[in-house]
């Protein structure tokens, strides 16, 4: 029996593995618009359900020889497992295995002998509790990793990093000398007539002094990115001796100006630094450069064009690096440039599918870039990448790069950054001996990532500490009193337990209390079908809902509409997706529970079978108390806990920023210091997106966690269930992209561009993966599904909004 059981278990596991595999194949064929995807979808479902039945047969088997009914079931399973060849072989061997294996008896006996009752633990003092120690360690990690990140950012304290706000008054004060006949003063807001400002970070190396002024580079991020996402450029340039200024574009980060017109604010900054004779004597005003990525690339091209003057000598910008931006509107400015210039466009840039015509294909734009040189027009008919055309000393140098990376990771690509450094090293005579590939920025990125993880750990541990305080302990105490009459939750820490149906009814009497039901095949089919359904819906509805967000919200896909009504244009897609999928999740959870219990009731009425109700799964949703007042207090305490979590998390962010000038981030996921714009914007989004968070918390804690699995399995399944749907968006999109050169999700609906919404999924998948784990951890500490949902909703939404755009006319 031991071997047969093991074989069957292995077969079922293989079936699950093949389920995943077939789903990937299904997504791939779907991406390529090949109708065979239906066949693979059927394979996936057969594999999945076959696995359930094999498990069920295995759990029921009493000996190596199966009962007739079970034997037939297993035979069918064996045949169906043809869609999973390894399982098919194992099932075949298991099917013909009819002899007992005594090893299992020996092992069982050994296992039973090892089981000893756990000693009763005495209550520890708070500073000796696991939560408090974890909290302290996490805090230490935050301090250490932020300090480490600061060391990297300042290149071992050889670069001074500081922030300032560029105001209208500042640009007015230093506007005596116009730049090439043009005036650059931050205008008053066109509607409110109020003053707006730009948030700037400045990197000044020790070597930059009045006596030895340094080349200066202005760095600008792209759409939905803040200046912190370009810190790698700032660090690498500043450690090579350049002064670097990096600003938040309009409607992003700490900038209060909403307009993204012109050069998106960098023109005011350049003017201010260029004309300021008091504060920037360490900047060599004859060696200004600018680099921007994506929309920022277009902006620095505008900047260099506007400040070009008639010749290289007159040009304020001596070197411009345009990264990830090839629109014709930008290309039309190439002919105006009188400085050295570089153009880079990622080989796998997903946005390239839009530029496939005679006038806008990358190859055409590339040719224009090397030919339309004001002082040295070319007649090239083909472009050589990484080859320098023209003369650096005359400002006619042109070079084009194509790094093997995609759009949103281009700014984190070592080769891209090296190309940028090498360009400025030559164009601005930086005279750095450091090779372009000698980079340290990922040290900062990694440290900030550790700080982010530590901050999450800190707030989770903090809840553990707070729950030990009598004031908050009532949250769990109320729950315990109610649960005393109930069986222990099956998935308590310590391992998988056999689920015995506990009947709380007396025959012939109206059934009363809920109990844990045994996990039948039918239950598994319902459970996993719901899982699959929600994942498939989450995968398929994100893009249509992103498209819908373009159609129905005032911001649409315009950067010119400023509104208080859901102003975070990119987050609107998430808003709709979260609301719809959260609602679907809730409907499925309550619906299937109601249906299962209705079935029991019907069977009880019809056949007199003792019903096994499972209402107890709703217990975790209730906030209990001794009386109504107690319930109310516990509701308020739950809210207070969530507010504390949010407040402490962002206090840590702010603290780290004050002391070390570091926020918490890892590439596209970040928690940055807050400002009023982000806060007001988030207030609009949190209530609606909360539907998704509470739905997830309920699903994890009231459904998945009750399957009787070990805790790690609960966490893994929860995390995958919440993120796989989104991950498959990436699979579909990129399989199609790599096979055809056009992403599956490029245009949608009324020719709306939605490819950028897919870029957002990279960050979203990670957040959705960790969310259920966090929800579970908080639930285990509070016994309450609401605290985690509220707190994580607020934190994650704030993180998303602080990293995106918000066209809210607050200033």
């Amino acid at each position: 029996m031991y071997l047969k059981s093991k074989l069957m278990k292995a077969a079922s596991v293989l079936c699950y593995v093949f389920t995943a595999l077939w789903f990937v194949v299904t997504a791939s064929f779907f991406a390529l618009s090949n109708n065979l995807y239906w066949m693979f979808l059927i394979f996936a479902l057969i594999s999945l359900y076959d696995g359930f039945v094999i498990t069920s047969v295995r759990e029921k088997m009493q000996s190596a020889t199966l009962e007739k009914r079970e034997d037939i079931k297993f035979l069918v399973c064996w045949i169906l497992s043809i869609v999973c060849p390894p399982a098919f072989v194992l099932c075949g061997i298991a099917y013909f295995r009819k002899t007992e294996d005594e090893a299992v008896v020996i092992r069982k006996a050994e296992a039973e002998a090892e089981e000893t009752p756990a000693p009763v633990k005495a209550k520890k003092r708070f500073y000796k509790t696991k939560s408090f120690i974890t909290m302290c360690v996490a805090f230490g990690m935050i301090i250490i990793s932020s300090f480490t990140a600061m060391c990297f950012e300042t290149s071992g304290f050889s670069v001074k990093v500081s922030d300032f706000t560029l105001t209208r008054e500042m640009t007015q004060k230093y506007n005596e000398g116009k730049i090439n006949g043009k005036e650059y003063i931050i205008p008053l807001d066109s509607e409110t007539q109020k003053e707006t400002s730009y948030s700037v970070t400045m990197y000044v190396p020790d070597t930059a002094t009045e006596e030895n002024p340094a080349p200066t580079v202005f760095v600008l991020p792209g759409f939905t990115r803040t200046k912190a996402t370009m810190s790698q450029y700032c660090m690498e340039l500043s450690r090579r001796g350049a002064v670097v200024f990096c600003s938040d574009p309009g409607a992003q980060g700490g900038t209060t100006e909403n307009s993204t017109k012109g050069a998106n604010g960098v023109e005011y900054l350049v003017q201010y630094v260029y004309n300021n004779t008091d504060d920037f004597k360490f900047c060599d005003k004859t060696r200004f450069g600018a680099v921007g990525h994506s929309a920022g690339g277009g902006n620095v091209c505008t900047l260099a064009s506007d400040m070009a003057g008639a010749s290289y000598e007159e040009s304020v910008i001596k070197g411009v690096y345009i990264s990830g931006y090839i629109k014709t509107s930008s290309a039309n400015k190439y002919k105006n440039l009188t400085c050295n210039a570089a153009l880079s466009y990622a080989y796998y840039d997903e946005g390239a599918f839009r530029y496939q015509s005679d006038s806008e294909a990358f190859e055409v734009i590339g040719l224009r870039f090397i030919n339309e040189v004001k002082e040295n027009p070319g007649t090239h008919t083909a472009v050589a990448y990484d080859y320098g055309y023209g003369d650096m000393s005359k400002g006619t140098y042109r070079v084009i790069h194509r790094e093997m990376v995609n759009h949103c990771f281009e700014m984190y690509d070592k080769v891209s950054i090296a190309n940028t450094i090498d360009f400025f090293n030559a164009a601005l005579n930086m005279d750095s001996k450091l090779d372009g590939h000698n980079q340290i920025w990922f040290g900062k990125e990694f440290s900030n990532g550790i700080a982010l993880a530590a901050a999450f750990t800190f707030v989770i541990a903090l809840i553990g500490v707070l729950m030990d305080i009598p004031f908050f302990a009532t949250l769990k105490a109320g729950k315990k009193k109610e649960e005393e009459s109930l069986p222990e939750e099956p998935n308590a820490e310590g391992g998988e337990k056999a689920l015995e149906p506990v009947m709380a009814t007396v025959e012939g009497v109206k059934p009363v209390k809920a109990v844990a039901a045994p996990k039948t095949v039918a239950h598994k089919v319902i459970f996993w079908s719901c899982m699959l359904l929600t994942a498939i819906i989450a995968c398929l509805d994100y893009i249509p809902l992103a498209n819908l967000s373009i159609e129905i919200f005032p911001t649409s896909n315009l950067a010119s509409v400023f509104t208080f009504t859901f102003p975070a244009r990119m987050v609107n897609a998430i808003l709709l997706w979260a609301a719809i999928n959260g609602t679907i999740g809730l409907v499925l959870f309550f619906g299937t529970t109601a249906l299962e219990n209705l079935y029991e009731y019907v069977m009880f009425k019809w056949k007199g079978r003792t019903p096994v109700y499972d209402w107890s799964k709703f217990e975790a949703i209730k906030i209990s108390g001794e009386n109504k007042k107690g319930v109310l207090f516990n509701v308020l305490k739950s809210l207070l806990l969530a507010v504390i979590m949010f407040g402490v998390f962002y206090f840590l962010v702010q603290l780290s920023y004050w002391i070390f000038h570091q926020d918490f981030r890892f590439m596209l996921i970040s928690a940055a210091p807050l400002n009023a714009r982000m806060f007001v914007t988030a207030l609009e989004y949190i209530p609606i997106i909360f539907i998704f968070y509470i739905s997830n918390s309920i699903r994890v804690n009231c459904s998945i966690a009750r399957e009787g699995w070990k805790e790690w399995k609960v966490l893994v399944v929860s995390a995958l269930a919440n993120s796989l749907g989104l991950a498959f968006i990436l699979v579909i999109n990129y399989v199609c992209y790599f096979a055809t050169g056009t992403p599956y999700y490029g245009y949608w609906g009324n020719n709306n561009e939605i490819w950028l919404f897919v870029n957002m999924v990279f960050g979203l998948v990670v957040m959705m993966f960790i969310l259920p784990i966090f929800n579970r951890l908080i639930y285990k500490k509070t016994g309450n599904v609401w605290v985690g949902a509220i707190a994580w909703c607020a934190i994650f939404i704030m993180m998303t909004i602080s990293a995106s755009v918000s066209y809210i006319p607050m200033y």
Binding site: R354, Y355, S359, E363, T381, E551, F738, A739, T740, N750
Partner: protein
Amino acid sequence: MKKILTAVLLVLVMCVSALAGCTLVKGLEKDVQIVVEVNGEYRGLYTVNAFNNAIVPLPEEKDNPDPKNLMFYGWTPEADWQEKGAANVHLSANKSVVRYDDVKDFVGDSAKVTIYAVYGEIPVYDLVVAWYNKPATSGLDESVIGGFKDNLYAYLTSKSYTPAEMEIDIRSYAGNVGPTCEAIKNDNNVDIMLGWKDMTNLRDTGGMKPGVDFLYNYGNIWVKPDFKEGRYAAKLNEKDLTNLVYDWILEEYAGEGGATVDYDYTKDESLTPAPEPEEPTPAPELGEYDKKLVVGGYIVDSTTGLTETMMKNFEAKIKEYLTAENLTDVELVIRLYANDAEGNKLTVAKVGEMVNAAADVDILIGMGGNITSTGKIATVKLESYTIATKSRKLAQLNEDSLAAKVFAWMLATDEVKAIFA
């Protein structure tokens, strides 16, 4: 320990899979070699894949076998395109940029494909209306344009045209402003642009030269009435049918307050240096003249802008003028063309019939650019004349010296212009 080991192994497997996946990505790329051939002549070898296009040289003018009737359509991988005909073969999406998509279905085992230059007949259109197919920006989509087309056809029918028999192309241009304007310039046969933005946008982003690539641009145009903002309509030439349809668009789809002038090339001083102030042209010498002066006015208020009040004021003004010029023997007749006997508004064609039948009209005001084509009215002189901010026509219909004198006076006198403006 067992768990940790398993977890570490899993992570390693995932990392290796991810790395292998990234390597495989490069393997997915399939390079295709393209041989370019024009009229059987080899023009080069290029390589394309899903991420790289080829810029191929356009055929030269001398390659065109019949430049008067044929034009270069694009490239096809089908060697027998001449038998199939230019309209029935797979053509590249572009003319100078050849993409992997253009040839991937024609690649054999050798991963090499020859593309041939295709020549076809030059299409001739009576009217081409370009619309901006970017619904979120322009508000225009197939259904909105479907309604527009129905209205346009009904209007043209009311003007005695037979749109079903005409070559009318209501053509969509999708993409951003830059590429769509570029495409319109390349097509070089668009008459009216619908749904784009203001002159600054067309010029700076679209790369179109005001006064050259487009002549007029009017805003506050609501082809989709409930759209978030009014869009623009641009006129690219002064053909009669273009004028007729453009005026109708400005009238039919203007929002509250009417269509607003964004650009009018006749008022663009940057186009040509301001002319030296000239001596006013002396009025023609009055020799023998017809004692009866008939001035007709086409009064269909919604189309022409001309009103009875204007004509009454004009009558008073012209009487003053004739008196001042000692032409008191002239019998002045002001004839209004507004409604027929049944009260229906007169069409251009009908007005033409009436004018020609009367054969005594000297000057006609208020007609559109189609006065000669649709109205079939012979004119001696035809000038643009602003009536209620609309660009209409002032026509001299015969060589009579009094008619010529009054025509010149109407053109040169600001007070007269003010009556109609």
